[in-house]
Every structure is written in C-alpha cells, then in structure tokens.
C-alpha cells in the first residue's frame, strides 16, 4: 500500500485522477438504474456527482489535465492513425501518395473506433446486471479514507495553490456524508 501513503505528498494528482474515474463509473451506473427504475433514487447519484465535481476541482489545482474522453479508445485511434501512414510511406515518397496514406490512416482509425464501440455494445448486451455499486458501504468508507489522506497531504503542501485543494476535498467529504445518508438502512 505504498501508493496510498498519505505522508509522501507525491502522486496526489494521480490518486485524485483515479478517484474521479471510479466516481464517474459509479454515478453513471446509478443514473442508468434510476432511468430504468431498477433502483429509483434521484438524490444519491446527484450527491455523488457533487463529490466527483469537488474531486475534479481539487485535481485541477494540481494542474492535471483530467481527460474526459475514453483513454483506451483514444490510444487505439492514435496508434492506428500513426502506424498506417508510416507503413504505407515505404512504397513511395510522392506528396499525393503520402496524402492518401495519411487519409487512409484517419479512416482506419475511425473504423477501429467503430469496431471498438460495436464490441463494447455487444459485451453490454450479454452482460449480467450485478448489484449497484452505489449501495456498497465499503465504497463510502474507502473513498472517505482516500479523500482524507489526500486532504492531509494537500494541507501540508508548500504551495498555496495546492493548499486550497484541501478546502475542495473538505466539501467533497461533506457531500460524501450527505450521499451516504441517502442509503436505505436495514431493509
């Protein structure tokens, strides 16, 4: 657990980034369950969305460009768009041929993206519906521990820009507690 050591002071941005991704998937799952009335609750995911917003604000104070895009998809498209023209350019160096090679690379990247999305949709069609992640009490416990660790590290930081991130993380803890209040008890 060295990567969660709260007193190292490094890698906070990476931890905030990871939390942002996790919260995004939990919020999306809860929202879709609310839409199809599988678990109708419009308050819980809204509050977790606030937590995510605050964590994102804190991450931005560390000057992290948190990409809002699908990283795997972007990586696939980049690799294809670079590889195709580099391979094709061995045959000829005529400018028009090079232009055609680069255009072919772009089309191949788009085709790769379409195939990737189709695969994801196919896997979703056959997937089983598990329990909702938002109902897991350990999610809240773990998030609270990690946000607190990040806030401790941010408060001890040398730069005042990053010390402000501690305030955002306090707000995130407030919203997290509010979201946990919405969980059905007992039942």
């Amino acid at each position: 657990m060295t990567r969660d050591d709260p007193f190292s002071g490094s890698g906070i941005a990476r931890r905030l980034f990871r939390m942002d991704r996790e919260l995004e998937s939990v919020v999306r799952d809860a929202q879709c369950r609310d839409w199809v009335a599988d678990r109708p609750d419009r308050v819980g995911f809204a509050r977790l969305g606030q937590v995510r917003h605050e964590v994102f604000t804190a991450a931005r104070r560390y000057r992290v460009a948190v990409p809002r895009v699908d990283v795997a998809e972007l990586l696939l498209m980049t690799v294809v768009a670079v590889a195709v023209p580099v391979v094709l350019a061995r045959w000829s160096e005529h400018p028009l041929f090079l232009a055609a090679a680069f255009v072919a690379g772009g089309w191949a990247a788009l085709a790769g993206r379409a195939g990737w999305r189709r695969l994801r949709r196919f896997r979703a069609r056959t997937a089983r519906v598990g329990p909702a992640a938002i109902d897991d009490p350990y999610l809240y416990a773990g998030l609270r521990r990690r946000i607190e660790a990040c806030a401790v590290a941010a408060r001890a930081d040398g730069s005042h820009r990053r010390r402000v991130a501690a305030t955002d993380l306090e707000y995130a803890l407030d919203w997290l507690a509010a979201a946990q209040d919405e969980l059905p008890r007992g039942a």
């Binding site: 369950r33 809204a46 969305g49 580099v86």
Partner: protein, 213 residues
C-alpha cells in the same frame, strides 16, 4: 427518435427549466442564500449543456471534412518539405507536426462550433406544447415547494434520453455503455445537473422547515 423531435423536446425542457429558474429567483426570500445560489448556478449551467447536446456533428460529416483538409495539408506540406531538400523520415515528421497543429486548432474550435450550431438548431426547431401552466403556488408566500416545472422538466428530459437510446436498449449495461458517448453523455450530464439543483432546493426547504437561520 428523429433528430428534429429530440431538438423540440430539448426546447421544451429548456422552457420548463427557465420557468423553474424564474420561480426560484422570484419567490425565494433570500436570493443570496447558499442553497438557492447553488441551485441557480446549476440550472444556468444546464441550459448550456443542453445547447451543446444539440450541436453535435454526425460522424460522416466530420470524416469528410477531415479527409479534405488533411489531404490538402499533407500534400502541400510534403511537397514543400521535399522542395526544401528533406527526405524519408524527416518529411513524415514535418507532416505529422502540421497534422498535430491542425488537430489542436480543430479541438479548440470544436466547442465554439458546437455551441453555435446547437443554438441555431434549437432556434429552428419549434417548442412542442407544454401543457397547462401549473398553478403557481408560491407566488406570494415565498418558496414553499420545489417548483413543479423542474420536476416536469426532469420527466421530459429522462424520457427524451431514453427514447434517444432506443427502446431495444433499455437494460442497465447497455444504457451505461451508451451514456459514455455523445449525445447521451451530454444528456446524462444535463440530467445530473437538474437532479443536483432539485436536491439543493430540497435541502433549502428542509432547513427552512427546521427553522435553521
């Protein structure tokens, strides 16, 4: 769901949210109160998200434009680089730099284009009938309930989102997958903002009921 119908539904949601926002700002006793201010900020941001949701370009259009532009740019820059005496890998590097610059410019312009396009499309699509205007309960006594317009806006927004997803894909995993890409991603974000605004108003009313200062 046809594109035109989606735009009309989004217009209806915008009108309802505007009604709700007017009611909140008009009826709240203390407009600077924290929860009221948070709710108003979310409702204002929601309008921009809906405009952006309407402004997406179809993939074939993007692909055609990118093909034309990148063909011209690559042919021109490769010819220039070869005229300057470069060859082999160096030409490819020059071309790659030109393309990356173009991509950066395009991604910086895309947001502005999206907003302009979305506004134009929404202006052109009419507003469907909103039904009877709800009885304005809190005109004189201040904000006592969450405005009915906001709740109805949420119903319309969710039904528009689900119709956009298609009725054959109404399982949780499929919706989760669809919500990762536009336009459902933006519609989900708009729905999240609306729920947050309603939650903020509910907390405000809760505090009032407890006579919190």
């Amino acid at each position: 769901m046809s594109v035109r119908a989606l735009h009309a539904e989004l217009n209806a949601v915008r009108a309802l949210v505007g009604d709700g926002l007017a009611e909140v700002t008009g009826a709240a006793g203390d407009p600077g109160q924290f929860w009221i201010r948070s709710a108003c900020a979310r409702l204002t941001a929601l309008d921009g998200v809906l405009v952006e949701a309407a402004g997406g370009l179809a993939t074939p259009v993007i692909a055609a434009a990118a093909t034309v532009v990148s063909f011209g740019a690559v042919a021109l820059s490769a010819a220039l680089a070869q005229a300057a005496g470069l060859s082999g890998i160096a030409v490819l590097v020059v071309v790659g730099l030109v393309l990356v610059t173009l991509l950066g410019a395009a991604s910086r312009m895309s947001r502005r284009l999206r907003v302009a396009l979305g506004r134009r499309r929404l202006d052109r699509a009419g507003t469907p009938p909103l039904g009877a205007r709800p009885h304005d309960a809190s005109a004189h006594v201040g904000l006592i309930v969450v405005p009915d317009a906001l709740l109805r806006a949420r119903v319309r927004l969710v039904s528009a989102t689900l119709r956009q997803a298609g009725s054959r894909h109404w399982t949780v995993p499929e919706l989760r997958t669809a919500a990762r890409t536009d336009p459902l991603r933006r519609l989900a974000h708009a729905d999240l903002l609306l729920c947050q605004a309603i939650d903020c108003l509910e907390r405000y009313l809760d505090d009032l009921a407890k006579e919190w200062p």
